[in-house]
Symmetry: C2
Subunit: 514 residues, 2 copies
């Protein structure tokens, strides 16, 4: 069948009956979420276990079950590999990994797939695991990718029932209250796992800093935690700052950032109290910086900004240019320190941030957001998951959630990357539908979705270089040769969920080249 | 049938099948909680309604439904009466009120019962409403009293399904994020309603201080809130400090407090890092003060204290004698200010505090707790609900939760009140079973539960006046005449739930006097 972004989607993917994407807000549910498990303890219960193996046993983890993780240490995480190694030693087979995201550090997952310990992966795959999955034939079921909000929603809805949640906790007490903003190796808030901890059949807190009761803030609560394991290492906080988390130095990208900031200023939303999403990519960081300068010049302040907490955003908070920072994850140590100290800096969980099945999301309050893309097409559809070669190399993150929510969603993308055109007739994979994209900013000009004539008029009045996507694509077409197109086979290696649980696209195995 | 504290309990109370109390930790559930309702919104949704009537309409509130409230303004609350008046104007009948607690200010509830607007009440009734219910024949079903933790548990378990939660919010934003620690009339954290907001079919935030998004901390979340109503008045913060929240000046009570503090010091739990519950009654405040002095003298600090946040407890925090204060409700404005300012002062909800159906409670971590009583009997059973005349005049509060959790639970009670003996053969109503009471402190001496010979030895070694309850009862019996005993009829006017949802006792209508 063809879905609402005109993609061919099968009625069944693996064992799953597919609900096709129909529109950004087409799903309205009036039923109930899945019911949480009853739990119990006596006041004398001792939850501290000597090892991850002991926790695996205590939880009754067995073949085919689902285990979950957060990614708050990103490429510095040490827990996923430790747990999978322990599962392998226990002889477990056929597990489903429900991680928020995997990174290059999780390359050992590949061996666990090959040996049968892991049979399924749902969650973002950044780098080698994604490339491996892209080869096809590896997993018992296609991978499933969800946005931050979509993952939270899927747990609450019962789409994914977690058997055991393993939660890396930079500080925890013996009852399992846990936080990511204190401890020997703080990684920022670990509330990504809050829904896992509440809905999983069993919850295990894995910490390298066990402290007396009560450890707070209670990102994870003792009420939800079945067992606590102390280990030597859970992650390397230096590695939560990945290489991409630096202000761009590329002149092209700086031009895009400058145009984006100018477009925000011209858009009509740039008034005291407005809200924006400050991303952590190189261009987004530069836009945030420029926007701060513009606010200072104009004598206004943002009512709030949602991060990706970064030093840059915290500086705006300290300068009074942003009144409140809502932070789902920390991208550097300055952001973590600020969470401990600044009243105006508040940790939020993905449910608060972006749960489609709720009465409000933080992203719905955004006036402006600037997001990246691997590709954009003439219908304003955006791809952030695959490269033009068809390889699945990135997760969705909050892309869908922010794009769907913000009053003005801007995609910042260079028109050419690695001699490949980024504005295409059709994106390789639709992550985010054009209907929720308002503006695409390239170094060659600003394209405005025809649904937003109002913005086009404002940008033109401000003297900004407004052009159509077709014009930009054509201009680029004269400069670079068209990319070799992958030829896709039938096998689906991953399903891309829209944030409401429908399928917006699938990723198929690459069979060759056109 | 007779239950685990030897009380005669019917198999059916109103329409409810009774599970009898069997023991403090007898219930172990492995099923699931009730499922929460799915909710939805578009980014453009406007939740702000012009009046409580408009919210009643928008929520589809109709005859026989259940509405809920918190009591964080205590006797200063203005929301319960406003909502019930609006329900009356709308012609609604047969409502069930599921308030955490009603106070003398809620006396107008009586008229709403008489006129049929209200048919059922579940929750604490302090004062006139309780006295009215005690007369019998007023409600369609007997009242149900639950502890703080028990009320939270009942919602999660689906024992009580709330149709519309009305939540008084000292500050809220137009999306329904709400807090009690900021605003024009702060009342302290309003997380008592967090479970209502998450599980109710519809949630309405009622505020007198609507501020721009995002209002935080998010005690109530926009994700849970269906509608927001701004009204002139929600409560009088001066009245959250009731007359009882003063250090006792009675020499008898001061002696009890002094003995209690000395017993804590002698008990073996008085070591650096211990945890205690600091109540807000006159004797408890005095014990807290004495205990602070003792800690200072001994050069130790408590790891944590659970309040009832009071100036006294905050002073201990500021003096470094308590490292962390966990606060479920604020009892004065100093406590509220401290919640905004002190990192070591953390708001907790009743689920965190005391939910039986969970993997840990804060109360389970307590080393010592000192609680009040209206009566104590020779089996160490405690009554906090009824007076010796059989009138239902008080709620349970956290009494059961703390008593069941604390390593050493001490009941502080004068042996005589108003010329009536307080140590009896049998309490009028069992609120908290003797099996979880360790020590009873009266001005005539300290009685130790025979299950705790270890404490008796320690107290005697410290030269404390250890006596049996029988001795104290007998001594008092020589000083005062026995109380006139009420003669109870058959009609049950209230059921007292143990914190696991079983029935520990019932309150019957008083028919006359012996």
């Amino acid at each position: 069948m063809r879905n609402g972004v005109d993609r061919e989607i099968p009625e069944q993917i693996g064992t799953r009956d597919v609900r096709p994407y129909e529109g950004a807000y087409a799903t309205v549910r009036t039923d109930r979420k899945v019911a949480r498990h009853q739990k119990w303890s006596s006041p004398q219960d001792d939850k501290v276990l000597p090892s991850i193996e002991a926790a695996i046993e205590a939880c009754g983890l067995s073949d085919g079950m689902t285990i979950s993780f957060h990614h708050c240490f990103r490429n510095g995480d040490r827990v996923v590999n430790q747990v999978l190694d322990a599962c392998a030693r226990k002889g477990l087979k056929g597990l489903r990994i429900y991680a928020t995201a995997l990174f290059p550090v999780h390359e050992p997952v590949i061996e666990h797939v090959k040996s049968g310990v892991v049979a399924r992966i749902e969650g973002s795959m950044n780098g080698p695991v994604g490339a491996f999955v892209s080869q096809g034939g590896q997993l018992a079921e296609p991978a499933v990718l969800r946005s931050h909000g979509g993952r939270w929603r899927a747990v609450e809805a019962g789409d994914v029932e977690i058997d055991v949640a393993f939660i890396a906790a930079p500080q925890a007490d013996p009852l399992g209250d846990a936080t990511g903003i204190r401890g020997k190796t703080p990684c920022g808030p670990i509330q990504f796992s809050a829904v896992d901890a509440q809905y999983a059949r069993k919850t295990v807190v894995v910490t390298n800093d066990l402290q007396p009761y009560p450890v707070h803030p209670f990102e994870i609560q003792a009420a939800w935690t079945d067992y606590v394991v102390e280990v030597d290492e859970i992650g390397d906080p230096e590695n939560i700052v990945s290489g991409t988390l630096q202000l761009t130095r590329s002149p092209t990208n700086l031009r895009i950032a400058r145009l984006t900031a100018e477009a925000v200023v011209a858009s009509g939303v740039f008034v005291d109290g407005f809200g924006f999403q400050g991303g952590a990519g190189g261009i987004s960081l530069a836009v945030t910086k420029y926007l701060g300068d513009e606010m200072e010049k104009a004598g206004i302040a943002a009512g709030f900004a949602i991060g990706g907490g970064t030093k840059l955003l915290i500086d705006l908070l300290h300068r009074g240019l942003v009144r409140t920072v809502l932070e789902g994850q920390a991208f550097d140590l300055d952001a973590i320190a600020s969470l401990r100290e600044d009243d105006g800096h508040v940790a939020i969980d993905p449910g608060f941030y972006a749960n489609y099945d709720s009465r409000s999301c933080a992203t719905y309050q955004l006036d402006a957001a600037f997001l990246g893309a691997t590709e954009v097409d003439l219908d304003f559809n955006v791809n952030v998951n695959t490269h033009s070669d068809g390889q699945l190399l990135h997760g969705i993150g909050g892309h869908q959630d922010v794009a769907a929510g913000a009053g003005m969603t801007m995609i910042t993308v260079p028109s050419i990357r690695g001699r490949l055109p980024m504005i295409l007739d059709r994106v390789t994979t639709v992550t985010t539908p054009g209907e929720v994209i308002d503006v695409v900013v390239t170094e060659r000009g600003i394209a405005v979705n025809p649904r937003r004539e109002d913005l086009k008029d404002r940008f033109e009045a401000a003297g900004l270089p407004v052009r159509t996507l077709a014009e930009i694509r054509e201009e680029v077409g004269r400069l670079v040769r068209p990319a070799r197109k992958p030829v896709f086979g039938e096998e689906i290696i991953a399903a891309i969920e829209w944030r409401d649980g429908t399928i917006i696209d699938v990723v198929r195995k690459v069979e060759g080249w056109a």
